[in-house]
């Protein structure tokens, strides 16, 4: 197997650091990031609360995940595994999100469309990193060295709270979108698409159709 280009990226990342990253590059992270998913996005952007701490305190990299973690009666935190959740659901909040969070790295599962990257990521000089697998939860769990804070735990519950994570050699991730808004997944989809038609040779659409469906297998459903 061909060795993929692999880099260590220090957080917070400068625009120059990000400009050096090509789609398909393997990335390991060092520094600070924070988790935020639908609960946080809704509260911060839609409900207008903004974020409970500054970019210095939270970091400028947002991970679409929540850890498998527990908080003991004495307040001690045990973080086991961490795995991303699918990111496409958060696209609608993004413009507001970049404004309140000042993030320039978004980490998650399965990316968004290049249309979203061009509309929302490119103007904010942000890239998207996808987790690998999905579910290298144990490897990622190993990379967490400290949990400096948990915010909105009461308001949103353990799974939706903001977990601030200090990480070391945290990965692997793949660069899914670069600063120009290109998407690795879309590049791969385009390579696979031509062979799909012949798989269906000899079959016919189901006898009973359904509303709202597409029969174009090159379409994406996100």
């Amino acid at each position: 197997m061909t060795k993929l280009n692999t880099v260590r990226l220090r957080l917070p990342a400068s625009t120059a650091d990000l400009a050096a990253l090509e789609i398909g590059t393997v990335v390991y992270l060092d520094g600070r990031l924070f988790t935020a998913r639908e609960g946080v996005y809704k509260r911060a952007v839609e409900d207008g609360f903004g974020l409970p701490a500054s970019p210095d305190e939270l970091g400028r990299a947002n991970f679409h995940c929540s850890p498998a973690a527990s908080i003991g009666a004495d307040g001690s935190m045990t973080v086991g595994a961490v795995t991303a959740t699918a990111s496409f659901r958060f696209a609608k909040y993004l413009d507001g999100w970049f404004e309140v969070s000042h993030c320039n790295v978004i980490i998650g599962k399965a990316g968004m469309t290049s249309e979203v990257y061009r509309r929302s990521f490119v103007p904010n000089s942000a890239i998207y990193l996808t987790t690998v697998g999905y579910g290298t939860g144990a490897l990622l769990g190993r990379g967490i060295k400290r949990v400096p804070g948990v915010y909105w735990r009461e308001e949103l519950g353990l799974a939706q709270a903001i977990w601030v994570l200090d990480v070391e050699n945290f990965g692997p991730f793949l660069v899914e979108s670069d600063l120009a808004g290109n998407s690795l997944f879309e590049r791969e989809n385009a390579k696979i698409a031509p062979s799909i038609e012949k798989l269906y040779a000899g079959t016919h659409p189901a006898t009973l159709r359904r509303f709202g469906e597409t029969d174009d297998k090159t379409d994406e459903l996100i």
């Binding site: 197997m1 579910g135 144990a138 490897l139 799974a159 696979i192 189901a206 996100i222």
Partner: protein, 319 residues
């Protein structure tokens, strides 16, 4: 009499084992994918997952941060007796689920669908799901926990006899391609196909086919077994590998389970059990011994019975 404390301790151990240790049969299947995968990105992903299993086992931490939806399959021997009866058994499984969530730890995934209330313990209304089956001439209880992902990779469609095998293949491809793109289904997966039954049973059969049969097992009906082989190959010929990258690693195995359906229809469901195929099983014997394993042995001749009477009972009645 099987003691409740034995059942609860066994259930807690099963929760941790399922979350931390990849079952051998799935691991063997994934290693075969790794050997044949030509796509460099897809091969990289599989390598990372193999590393991840090692890390999980070494550190005793969950393989995946997303707990999925932990659930229970309980098979009760016809002669088994449980301390406190079935109500106490259910309470023990709920307690074990909550305790393991804090102890492993597992992410508390279960929330109210409308109010998003989270008890932080994976227990709530209807959660964990507990399904039951029975077994003749036995005095043991078998507990199986499955933590299947909860969002992507499953679909249902009412097909008709006129759609035929080609229609089955088409819906199978539709589901794999739809959820395989960008790797939403966390493939390579064990794909379960449910054929027949009423709509709810069709979904149940497909899910059980994915989660409760081991890689390499085949349906006892030779023609269905042949279709399992054919669908496995078909899935791996899409050109899509791990994370939806170009490659050949989509289906680690394909299992089909059938149930009798309405004479006019041929309902079909597809389920994909992911790269962290979490399942663990134990038999709790009447004398308190516990034997752990990864093969739930859920589908038996008894479970797939076709006639009115189970042969042995019919024979007894005739005597």
């Amino acid at each position: 009499m099987i003691l409740l404390s034995t059942l609860q301790q066994t259930a807690e151990k099963l929760m941790a084992t399922a979350a931390i240790e990849i079952p051998e049969d799935y691991l063997g299947g994934l290693r075969q994918c790794a050997d044949t995968e030509k796509g460099d990105l897809s091969a990289f992903v599989i390598k990372a997952m193999l590393d991840n299993y090692e890390a999980a086992k070494e550190d005793r931490r969950a393989m995946c941060g997303d707990t999925g939806c932990p659930r229970w399959y309980v098979k009760i021997g016809n002669d088994a007796q449980v301390e406190g009866g079935p109500v106490a058994l259910e309470a023990a499984l709920r307690r074990a689920t909550a305790n393991a969530t804090a102890d492993v730890p597992l992410r508390p995934n279960r929330v109210h669908p409308l109010w998003r209330t989270d008890h932080n313990n994976n227990v709530g209304i209807g959660a964990p799901e507990i399904e039951y089956a029975f077994h003749p001439d036995a005095d043991w209880i078998e507990l199986t926990t499955v933590h299947k992902g909860g969002l992507f990779g499953s679909d249902y469609r009412m097909l008709f006899p006129a759609d035929g095998i080609e229609g089955i293949k088409r819906f199978y491809l539709d589901t794999l391609i739809a959820f395989g793109k960008r790797g939403l289904a966390c493939q390579p997966a064990i794909v379960g196909v449910g054929l027949g039954g009423s709509k709810d049973i069709c979904m149940v059969l497909g899910k059980q086919a994915a989660c409760l049969r081991v890689v390499g097992s085949r349906n006892p009906d030779p023609k269905i077994a042949a279709l399992e082989n054919e669908l496995k190959e078909l899935g791996n010929s899409i050109g899509m590998g791990a994370m939806g990258f170009m490659g050949s690693s989509m289906v680690v195995d394909c299992h089909i389970e059938v149930g009798y359906c309405h004479t006019g229809g041929m309902p079909m469901s597809v389920h994909m059990f992911c790269l962290s195929s979490r399942r663990a099983c134990a038999r709790v014997h009447a004398d308190g011994r516990v034997s752990f394993r990864t093969d739930p042995m859920w589908f038996t001749d008894y479970l797939r019975r076709e006639g009115v009477e189970w042969p042995e009972q019919a024979a007894e009645a005739a005597e």
